[in-house]
């Protein structure tokens, strides 16, 4: 317990690093900056391990301190460390540590590398804050800082034409979801008078609050989660976000921040359980996203875009898991996904670093040039495709199992379908990048293996991508589920496992057949209407937004501005005009009537004046003479 009470240090340490970077600017040598970042994250990781160890021994922390007397109650901020938080801490700090290590190599030579480390640390601090918060308000605060950090990292290479719009889009779309989060907070405060997890859950359980309100809050939270976790229809920002540096994408847009939405729903799970139909909404959105993401990923040329759509799809998978009622399966998949997707992103980064291109068709045959990268990528891809006994298999199996037991066979069916697609597009990307013979546009001939600071984190993650799943598998007696507090593990279904393996193998074989053996002609497949139409246009969702939201809003804004100057201002000016006209009329009357009389009078006066003025000859002595004469006369008259 005593050690856990230092948990607040975890987000503070990277925040201090950020502050140092911000304050020193270019004064610190690069080495110092990244040593600081890595050192700090190593300490945080160590701390997270301690937290994990302590929580696994049944210790928990839930402390608060007064932040604000809000309304009638004092309002507290605080930390909560339980198994869920501890797991998230490990994931965040570990991936962040490896990403920072990797960035030494990847960002080498970039003149703004210090700022990159600053932003990464700001992000890490915010994300750690999100998972440590024991109330939604603090979580929301960190949540938004996280969004800001994401904005900064996407826009990091702002000289490139696509980075600023991508950053803007990411911020706006997630902000749209966050508006839901904010509204949920207002609604929650009005009904519960607190933001604290424990109190709210207690009141929910007692039925102290109207279920409709709870449903509204739950769905609004989910809106926030949809924005952050790129769920349909708010997923459009994530592919564009790939304009940022790859290590940043690995950390933020693959492993951690995008999973924060899943964490939010998992954390608020009692709210959803109180009104079960909300889970159906969550699951449906998740399923749609999973299938849609996987379909779009089929038609992408850019290796990072493939991974981005894959991330969207896998996040959808996690929401599908939540929808089936198993938040443990969702978090389990979140963890394994964080490892293998971070691995894939960093391996992709290594490929880009080594070959200088992101286009799959300009690669090929990289396996010989970049053996380490290839090996780790393949492990990550297999894990994602769901090949046993790699991590992805176990977590995906948990989700499918949960769907089976929940009796929602739509979820199960689409889950399996997504698994097939996933195996196929990962196979496609793998074969195209590493194994096919280099084509005419290939840049593979100049490719070289990346330095060890990049491959070492890859290898570390590869180990986890292989093994991390075991802790949640039946082989380890569902240790993960037990740790999370789920005591009765679901009955494993070996049939389902077999089907899942079969699907994964089928997907990979299909890709192998298409791209290596050429049993099927990939060119023909890429000319089919489905691929050239909906898939490569990403189901036209961007276009829908552009024509349905962006342009109308701009038009309305333009209209409002025009109205402001043309209508309201015109009315104001009309009043002014009428005033002027009236005064002009009055002026005429003035000139002819009133002025006429005055003029006549005035003329008389001035005539008199003209005659009399001659006395005023300007000579002082003349005036004095008049004066003396006047006195003499006065004396003569009055002094009798």
């Amino acid at each position: 317990m005593s050690l856990l009470s230092y948990a607040w240090l975890l987000p503070v340490i990277p925040l201090v690093v950020f502050a140092i970077v911000l304050a020193t600017g270019r004064k610190l040598p690069e080495k110092v900056v990244y040593s600081l970042g890595i050192g700090a994250m190593a300490v945080v990781f160590a701390g997270s391990l301690v937290a994990l160890w302590q929580t696994s021994h049944g210790l928990e922390l839930n402390t608060s301190f007064k932040w604000l007397s809000f309304g009638a109650n004092t309002f507290n901020f605080g930390m909560l460390v339980d198994p869920l938080t501890a797991t998230m801490l490990i994931v965040v700090s570990f991936v962040s540590l490896l990403v920072q290590l990797y960035s030494i190599g990847y960002m080498h030579g970039d003149e703004r590398i210090r700022w990159f480390y600053g932003a990464i640390n700001l992000f890490s601090a915010a994300m750690l804050g999100v998972v440590l918060a024991n109330n939604w308000l603090l979580m929301y605060m960190c949540w938004e800082v996280m969004g800001l950090a994401s904005y900064l990292l996407i826009g990091f290479w702002y000289q490139n034409a696509d980075a600023p719009p991508a950053a803007m889009k990411a911020f706006l779309v997630t902000r749209f979801g966050d508006v839901g989060f904010g509204l949920a907070l207002a609604l929650m405060y009005f009904n519960f008078h607190t933001f604290n997890f424990t109190s709210v859950f207690l009141m929910t359980e007692m039925g102290a609050v109207n279920p409709t309100v709870i449903a509204a809050i739950a769905l609004l939270f989910f809106a926030g989660a949809m924005g952050k976790s790129a769920q349909f229809p708010l997923h459009v920002w994530l592919p564009d976000a790939m304009a940022g540096p790859t290590p940043g994408s690995a950390l933020i847009h693959a492993a951690t921040m995008v999973a924060a939405g899943v964490y939010l729903v998992a954390r608020s799970f009692p709210l959803y359980e109180a009104v079960p139909w909300t889970l159906l909404v969550v699951g449906t959105i998740g399923t749609i996203t999973a299938v849609m993401g996987a379909l779009i990923a089929l038609a992408q040329h850019d290796i990072k875009k493939v991974l981005a759509y894959s991330t969207i799809s896998q996040l959808g998978y996690m929401f599908l898991a939540l929808g089936t009622g198993s938040w443990v399966a969702a978090i389990f998949h979140l963890m394994t996904h964080a490892f293998f997707k971070a691995l894939l992103f960093m391996a992709a980064g290594s490929v880009i670093h080594g070959s200088g291109t992101q286009d799959l068709h300009e690669m090929g045959g990289l396996a010989k040039k970049m053996p380490w990268t290839t090996a780790t990528w393949v492990l990550g891809a297999l894990s994602l495709a769901g090949i046993p006994p790699l991590a992805g298999f176990w977590s995906k199996d948990e989700i499918l199992l949960s769907a089976l037991h929940s009796g929602n066979y739509w979820f199960l069916g689409f889950g399996l379908f997504t698994a097939l697609l996933t195996a196929f597009y990962m196979g496609r990307a793998t074969f195209l990048a590493f194994f096919v013979k280099p084509g005419p546009d290939s840049k593979a001939s100049h490719a070289h293996e990346s330095p060890w600071v990049m491959t070492a984190p890859l290898a570390t993650l590869a180990v986890l991508a292989v093994t991390a799943g075991l802790i949640g598998s039946p082989l380890a007696g569902y240790a993960f589920g037990n740790f999370m507090g789920e005591h009765e593990a679901a009955e494993p279904s070996y049939l389902l496992m077999a089907i899942a393996i079969g699907v994964a193998v089928a997907g990979i074989s299909l890709a192998w057949g298409s791209y290596i053996k050429r049993f099927f002609e990939p060119d023909g497949y890429f000319k089919s209407w489905f691929v050239t139409g909906p898939l490569s246009h990403k189901f036209w969702i961007d276009e829908v937004y552009h024509h349905g939201v962006v342009r109308p809003v701009n038009a309305i804004a333009e209209g409002a501005r025009t109205a402001d100057s043309a209508v309201i201002d015109a009315i104001v000016r009309a009043f002014g005009w009428v005033g002027l006209k009236i005064s002009a009329l009055l002026a005429v009357f003035d000139r002819k009537g009133v002025d006429g009389a005055f003029d006549a009078f005035g003329d008389g006066v001035s005539e008199t004046g003209n005659t009399v003025r001659k006395i005023q000859n300007g000579n002082v002595q003349t005036y004095l003479l008049f004066m003396v004469a006047a006195i003499v006369v006065l004396v003569a008259v009055f002094a009798r």
Binding site: R613, I615, Q616, N617, G618, N619, V620, Q621, L624, L625, V628
Partner: protein, 103 residues
């Protein structure tokens, strides 16, 4: 023969008339100023005389005289300054040629 109030008053009236005459007839601005001083001093003399003969205990008139002397000193300073300035700017000291204030 003792000096009575009337003697002083007659002297003062004479001084006053000389002053008025000077002011009205002098051409030189300086002489005008000197004549104005004569008028003032005629008044002073009257005040002192009344003070001494009518209400010797209160010395009201005497204190007025002190005030008037101060005022006169200030007035002379001002008048001289004006004359010098006029002299410098328009090169005239003859007062009857100053008629710029003509209406």
């Amino acid at each position: 023969m003792t000096l009575g109030l009337n003697h002083f008053l007659i002297l003062a009236a004479a001084l006053f008339c000389i002053g008025i005459f000077g002011v009205l007839t002098s051409k030189s601005a300086l002489r005008v100023v000197i004549c104005v001083e004569l008028i003032l001093n005629a008044v002073n003399l009257n005040l002192a005389a009344f003070s001494a003969y009518v209400a010797p205990k209160e010395a009201v008139g005497a204190s007025f005289v002190i005030f008037l002397m101060v005022v006169a000193a200030a007035e002379v300073g001002l008048a001289l300054a004006l004359i010098i300035t006029l002299n410098r700017t328009s090169d005239i000291s003859a007062i009857d040629s100053m008629s710029r204030m003509k209406g």
